[in-house]
C-alpha cells in the first residue's frame, strides 16, 4: 500500500472542504467556494496595496508629469491638489481602496478619461490574444512533449529539443520584430500590426473579441482577417514559453512510461497508442496542468512586449504607455486586473484535477 498513484512534480491542492466536515455535501461545497473567493480577495488586496506603496515610493512625481514640463510650481501644486496627491498617504490609500470597491479606478492622466473605460476597451483585445496563444501553447506543448517522451532517441525528438532551447533563448520582442520584418514586411504574408478593423468589414463591436464578433456577424472574410492578424503575435508569444510546457510534459510522460502499469497494459495486449494516450497521458498531465495555470500569467506578462511590437491595442500596450508616462492610476488598475485573471485561471485549473485523478473526487 505504499505508492499510490502518479508521482507528480507538484502535488495538486486538496479541496479545502475540511472546515465543514459533517455538514451536507452541497453545504460543504458552498463553504469551499466561499473560502476560495475569500482568499482571492486577500490576494487582490495584497497586490493592490503593494503596487500602491511602490507607486508612491518611486522617485517620480505624477503631478509634475500630469501638469506638463512647462508648468510652473503653482500649476503643479494645483494639479497635485486636483489629483488628491497632497493628502496624507493613509487617506489616499483608503480613498483608493474605496474607489476600487465601486470599480472606480480614477482617471488616466494620459487619455484624460476614466481608467475603467480604457480597461474595458483594452481587456478583450488582450484576452483574445492570450486565450488563443494559451490554447495553442497547451496543445502544441503537450503534443511535442508526448512525442519526445515516446521516442526519446528519434530525429523528431532532437529537433524538438533544439527548437525549444532556441525558442526559450530568443527574446520575445526580438522574435516579434523578426517575424514582422520577414513574414509581414518583406513577404507580405501577414498584416504588420493591429487587429481586424471593425469599420472596414462593417462588423458590430459586441464583445470586443474580433474573432467572435466576426462570427456573430456571420462575416467569414472578417473572421479570416481577425485570425490573420492574430498569427504573428500569437506565434511570438507561444514560442517564447513553449520550452516550459514541452519539457515538463516530456519529463512527466517519460516518468509515467516507466511505471509498472504501463508494462502491464502492454502485456495485456493494449495497443501502443492506447497505452500512451489513454493510460500514461492522463497521469502525466497532472503536473503539467499545474504549470499551465502559472504559465497563463507569464503569457499575460508577455503581451506587454508583443502588443508594443505589433501595436495590438490591448492591456499590454496600455500598460506600456502608462509605465512610460508614470500614469499611476492605469498601472494600479492593470495590476488588479492581471492579478484577478491570474488567480481565477489558477482556480479554474484546480477544477481539472479531479477529472484527471479520480481519488481527488471522493469525500468518503
Amino acid at each position: 500500500m505504499t505508492d499510490l498513484g502518479p508521482t507528480t512534480v507538484a502535488a495538486p491542492p486538496t479541496p479545502s472542504l475540511k472546515a465543514g466536515a459533517g455538514a451536507s455535501r452541497p453545504a460543504r461545497i458552498a463553504l469551499g467556494v466561499l473560502t476560495r473567493i475569500g482568499w482571492l480577495l486577500v490576494v487582490v488586496w495584497a497586490a493592490v496595496s503593494l503596487t500602491f506603496i511602490l507607486s508612491r515610493v518611486v522617485p517620480a512625481d505624477p503631478a509634475r508629469l500630469a501638469a506638463g514640463l512647462q508648468a510652473g510650481p503653482e500649476q503643479v501644486a494645483e494639479v497635485r491638489a486636483l489629483l488628491g496627491l497632497d493628502q496624507p498617504l493613509l487617506k489616499q490609500y483608503i480613498d483608493y481602496l474605496g474607489g476600487i470597491a465601486t470599480l472606480d479606478f480614477g482617471d488616466s492622466i494620459q487619455t484624460r478619461g476614466p481608467v475603467l473605460d480604457d480597461l474595458l476597451k483594452a481587456l478583450p483585445a488582450t484576452l483574445e490574444l492570450v486565450l488563443v496563444a494559451f490554447t495553442i501553447y497547451a496543445i502544441v506543448g503537450i503534443t511535442l512533449g508526448v512525442l519526445w517522451a515516446v521516442r526519446p532517441r528519434g530525429i523528431l525528438s532532437r529537433l524538438i529539443g533544439f527548437g525549444t532551447i532556441i525558442g526559450a533563448a530568443v527574446p520575445v520582442f526580438w522574435l516579434g520584430l523578426v517575424l514582422q520584418v520577414f513574414l509581414a514586411s518583406k513577404l507580405g504574408w501577414f498584416p504588420i500590426s493591429g487587429r481586424m478593423n471593425y469599420n472596414d468589414f462593417g462588423v458590430a463591436d459586441v464583445t470586443g473579441f474580433t474573432t467572435i464578433d466576426a462570427l456573430l456577424a456571420g462575416n467569414l472574410s472578417a473572421f479570416g482577417d481577425a485570425l490573420w492578424h492574430l498569427v504573428l503575435p500569437v506565434t511570438a508569444l507561444v514560442a517564447s514559453q513553449l520550452a516550459v510546457a514541452t519539457r515538463l510534459m516530456r519529463t512527466s510522460m517519460a516518468q509515467q512510461l516507466r511505471r509498472p502499469y504501463v508494462r502491464v497494459a502492454r502485456a495485456r495486449g493494449s495497443s501502443e497508442l492506447r497505452v500512451v494516450v489513454v493510460d500514461a497521458l492522463r497521469n502525466a498531465l497532472n503536473p503539467v496542468v499545474t504549470m499551465l495555470g502559472m504559465q497563463f500569467g507569464w503569457l499575460l506578462a508577455g503581451t506587454i512586449l508583443v502588443e508594443v511590437v505589433f501595436s495590438w491595442p490591448g492591456l499590454g500596450l496600455y500598460a506600456f504607455n502608462a509605465f512610460r508616462t508614470f500614469d499611476y492610476n492605469p498601472i494600479l488598475a492593470i495590476t488588479i486586473v492581471t492579478t484577478v485573471t491570474f488567480v481565477v485561471v489558477n482556480e479554474l485549473v484546480g477544477l481539472i484535477y479531479p477529472i484527471l485523478d479520480p481519488r481527488l473526487k471522493e469525500d468518503r
Binding site: 500500500m1 505504499t2 505508492d3 499510490l4 498513484g5 502518479p6 532517441r153 511505471r259 509498472p260 502499469y261 508494462r263 502491464v264 497494459a265 502492454r266 502485456a267 495485456r268 495486449g269 493494449s270 495497443s271 501502443e272 492506447r274 489513454v278 493510460d279 492522463r282 497521469n283 484527471l356 485523478d357 479520480p358 481519488r359
Partner: protein
C-alpha cells in the same frame, strides 16, 4: 512440439552495462509443466521473463539462438502478431499489484483494453464471470471501482482474472505474491494452482522464495549473475543441491527450530566477477581454478550444475 516455451542461449545486455544481465540461459516449459526461475535480486530472473515476452525497452540488446512460443519465433514476431499473442496464449502477472494498475482508470476499463472480439457487453460478461470465480463479491458493481478501492490481494486476483479470461496456455508470473502478506499469498497460490489444473495451464514462475518454488514448480533454474548455476527437477535440486550457491540459498532460509545455518556470504550480485565462476567471490569453497575458468554445465547426480567442484564432498555439511 509438446513444449510451450523454448529458450536457447538467451543473452540480454542493458546499454552501458559492464556485463550482460542474462548470459547463455536455456530452458523449456513443457505443456502443463511449471518451471521456476530463482535467484536473488539482480540475478536476471525478471529480465529473462521480460526479454522472452518482448517487454524490455528496445534499447536493451536481446540475442538468442531461439525463443519460441508453441513453435513461433517470439523475437522476430511482428507487432500485430505479438499483440494477438498477448491477448491470447500468453498471460503475464507481475510483482506489485498496486503498481500494476493505472490509478486513474477503473478496473473494468483497464481489463477491457486487453479483450478482443465480440461485443463490449459480451466481453464484459466474460470478465464478470471470471471475477466471480476468483472470489470478487458483486463483480458487476465492483469492477466500476478504481484500484484504490481494492486491497492488494484483491488487485492481484483481479489482474489474474483479467489474464485468465484470455484462456492462455502459458502464464508468466513474476514474483506474483511477494508484495502480499502471508495469508493472502497462500490463498493466491492455491488459486493459481487450482486454475492451473483446471485449465491445463503451463507456468513460468519467477521467485526468490524457495517455499513458493517448492510448492508451485516441477523444474527449477537457479540463476546467479545472469547465468544458470544449477537446474533440475525441483525436488532434486532442493533436496540434493550440487552448487554451493543453491546450498547457501537454502541455508539462508530462516528456520524456527534447529541450529542456525551458515548465512549467505556477504556480497551482492552486482559485484559478480566477469571472469571465472561468477560466484567465486562469495563461495566458501572457491579455488584458483574457479577464479579464472568459467565452469560449463555438467550433469551431476540428478541436476545440471555449473561448478568445477561438484559433486561437493558432503551435501549434508552445508
Amino acid at each position: 512440439m509438446s513444449d510451450v516455451l523454448t529458450v536457447r542461449n538467451l543473452t540480454v545486455r542493458y546499454p552501458n552495462a559492464p556485463r550482460p544481465s542474462v548470459q547463455g540461459v536455456s530452458f523449456t516449459v513443457p505443456a502443463r509443466g511449471s518451471v521456476a526461475l530463482v535467484g536473488e535480486s539482480g540475478s536476471g530472473k525478471s529480465t529473462t521473463a521480460l526479454a522472452v515476452t518482448r517487454l524490455l525497452d528496445p534499447a536493451v540488446e536481446v540475442t538468442a539462438d531461439e525463443v519460441s512460443f508453441e513453435g513461433r519465433d517470439l523475437l522476430r514476431m511482428g507487432k500485430k502478431e505479438l499483440r494477438a499473442l498477448r491477448r491470447g496464449g500468453l498471460g503475464m502477472v507481475f510483482q506489485d499489484p498496486r503498481a500494476s494498475w493505472n490509478p486513474a482508470r477503473t478496473i473494468e476499463r483497464q481489463l477491457l483494453d486487453g479483450l478482443r472480439g465480440a461485443e463490449r457487453a459480451e466481453r464484459r460478461e466474460r470478465l464478470v464471470a471470471r471475477m466471480r470465480r476468483i472470489g470478487l463479491d458483486d463483480p458487476e458493481r465492483r469492477m466500476r471501482d478504481y484500484p484504490h478501492h481494492f486491497s492488494g490481494g484483491m488487485l492481484q486476483r483481479a489482474l489474474l482474472a483479467g489474464v485468465l479470461v484470455h484462456e492462455p496456455r502459458l502464464l508468466i508470473a513474476d514474483e506474483p505474491t511477494s508484495a502480499l502478506d502471508t495469508t493472502v499469498q497462500a490463498e493466491l497460490l492455491a488459486l493459481i494452482g487450482q486454475l492451473r489444473t483446471e485449465q491445463g495451464l503451463s507456468m513460468l514462475l519467477i521467485s526468490h522464495d524457495l517455499g513458493v518454488v517448492a510448492r508451485m514448480s516441477d523444474h527449477v533454474l537457479v540463476l546467479y549473475a545472469g547465468r544458470i548455476a544449477e537446474q533440475g527437477p525441483t525436488s532434486t535440486v532442493l533436496a540434493q543441491p550440487q552448487h554451493p550457491y543453491t546450498r547457501d540459498l537454502l541455508a539462508a532460509i530462516p528456520r524456527l527450530h534447529g541450529p542456525r545455518k551458515v548465512p549467505l556470504q556477504v556480497g551482492r550480485v552486482a559485484e559478480a566477477r566477469t571472469e571465472g565462476c561468477p560466484y567465486a567471490g562469495r563461495c566458501r569453497f572457491a579455488t584458483d581454478r574457479c577464479r579464472t575458468e568459467t565452469p560449463a554445465p555438467r550433469r551431476v547426480g540428478g541436476t545440471e550444475v555449473a561448478c568445477h567442484l561438484a559433486p561437493l564432498p558432503d551435501a549434508k555439511a552445508a
